[in-house]
């Protein structure tokens, strides 16, 4: 969506004075940060640390390693099914928007798809920050009413016999889809298997191995 000036910012002062070379959102956020920092409410170094966390430490590789381990170790898969929060925390992934995790397993004839129709709830601890399409109206509107059509827009055409289960994240539970292990991956170790698990496969808009 465009980030242009929406014309309803009278009184906010952007576009006047020394900031007028900045686009409106840059100016708006910069002004807020300046005021908050000046009042001692925000530590700019903390902002850098937050950004660095989601840029380099917390992302879909976390979830991919959880999935790969569940493929390798039936005992771990059982634990993930019973108590995903603990099983995922044991791999070192926990915290914000991953406090209460559930893992849902695709199987023969069953496909899981995760959405948040009311906002943008997403399992940050295992997938990082959500992509724009996950937060935007087209996906949030139609994932519940036309899941098969939505999946086709991702290039995923499921057999008519496959039952689709949509999980609308309306409370504080966060869902991780565990896709089926692709055929012919018998000899691979954890990191190689994790390479086959895309972010979209863990939301349910792709299969493992489809878009590594």
């Amino acid at each position: 969506m465009p980030h242009d000036d929406h014309g309803d910012d009278q009184g906010h002062g952007h576009g006047h004075g020394p900031d007028n070379h900045l686009d409106p959102m840059t100016a708006r956020v910069m002004a807020l940060e300046t005021i908050l920092t000046g009042k001692g409410l925000v530590d700019p170094a903390a902002l850098d640390a937050i950004i660095e966390t989601y840029a380099s430490k917390v992302g879909p590789r976390n979830g991919a390693r959880v999935v790969a381990r569940s493929w390798l170790e039936p005992g771990y898969a059982d634990w993930l099914r019973r108590d995903a929060t603990a099983a995922i925390a044991e791999m070192g992934y926990s915290g914000r928007q991953g406090e209460h995790m559930r893992a849902v397993f695709n199987g023969v004839g069953t496909h899981n798809l995760v959405v948040c129709t009311l906002c943008s709830c997403y399992p940050w601890a295992v997938l990082g920050l959500p992509p724009v399409w996950y937060k935007a109206p087209p996906y949030r509107a139609r994932a519940v009413s036309d899941p098969r059509g939505v999946l086709r827009e991702f290039g995923l055409d499921l057999p008519a016999a496959t039952r689709i289960r949509v999980w609308d994240s309306t409370a504080e539970l966060r869902y991780l889809v565990v896709p089926e292990r692709p055929a012919g991956t018998g000899g691979l170790g954890l990191e190689d298997l994790a390479d086959l698990v895309s972010r979209d496969a863990m939301i349910g808009t792709a299969l493992a191995g489809a878009r590594p």
Binding site: M1, R96, E99, A125, P138, F154
Partner: protein, 219 residues
């Protein structure tokens, strides 16, 4: 509330448009907006439920014209003004004009890792036993509330089956409005596509919601 955020089943937004090789942020301000939202949340002056309500009350036109981080920043401005931290005149002036109230917690850089790793668990003990057991047939309530709720319109007044009792959780309908946590049991309830969308449903599809106990009645 029946605001612009309640999107399930709405039509007319077009196809989903996944972006190939999408960057984590589309502009540097988005990264600052995300981090500011988290850092200000850590002040402890409002709950996640109040912040969700601030986003859904931005107005329909603003909500749909804004990117998600813009929604976050606009709602953050509302929250900062409501709680006396940054007045709109100060944003207009681009500088602080008065002292902010004492903030009990300011997130420092060295505390970021621990704070993010802890998150904000919102499971709570509930004294009464769960009213419903797995397998129970239920009906979601009809409601038309002006307050914050997590029962979407498409899933109101519908039959369903309890699949799991997920535990006790803070009740957003009260917590968003300063009414306290008032925890309730939360259930995963499975709704049949045909019950939601009639003949237009994908045959055999199911949608589950996570529903607080007061959203449900025995069927």
């Amino acid at each position: 509330m029946n605001g612009p955020q309640d999107l399930g089943g709405q039509q007319g937004f077009g196809a989903v448009a996944p972006e190939a090789d999408e960057p984590l942020f589309h502009a540097p301000w988005e990264a600052r907006a995300m981090a500011l939202t988290l850092a200000c949340g850590a002040l402890g002056a409002w709950t996640i439920d109040e912040s969700r309500h601030a986003r859904e009350t931005l107005g329909w036109v603003t909500y749909y014209r804004s990117s998600y981080y813009e929604i976050w920043i606009r709602a953050l401005e509302t929250l900062l003004a409501r709680h006396g931290f940054v007045a709109s005149e100060e944003r207009a002036a681009g500088r602080a004009l008065r002292l902010a109230p004492e903030a009990p917690r300011v997130l420092r850089a060295e505390a970021v890792a621990g704070t993010l790793a802890r998150g904000g668990p919102c499971d709570r003990p509930v004294a009464a036993p769960p009213r419903f057991a797995p397998g129970a047939r239920v009906r979601t309530v009809a409601m038309n509330p002006e307050h914050h709720t997590r029962l979407p319109r498409y899933a109101r007044d519908k039959p369903g089956v309890v699949e799991a009792v997920q535990g006790g959780f803070v009740f957003p309908d009260s917590n968003a409005h300063g009414g306290g946590e008032r925890p309730q049991w939360v259930y995963t309830v499975v709704l049949r596509g045909e019950d939601l969308w009639g003949a237009d449903a994908d045959p055999g599809s199911e949608v589950s919601i996570d529903a607080w106990e007061s959203y449900l009645e025995p069927a």
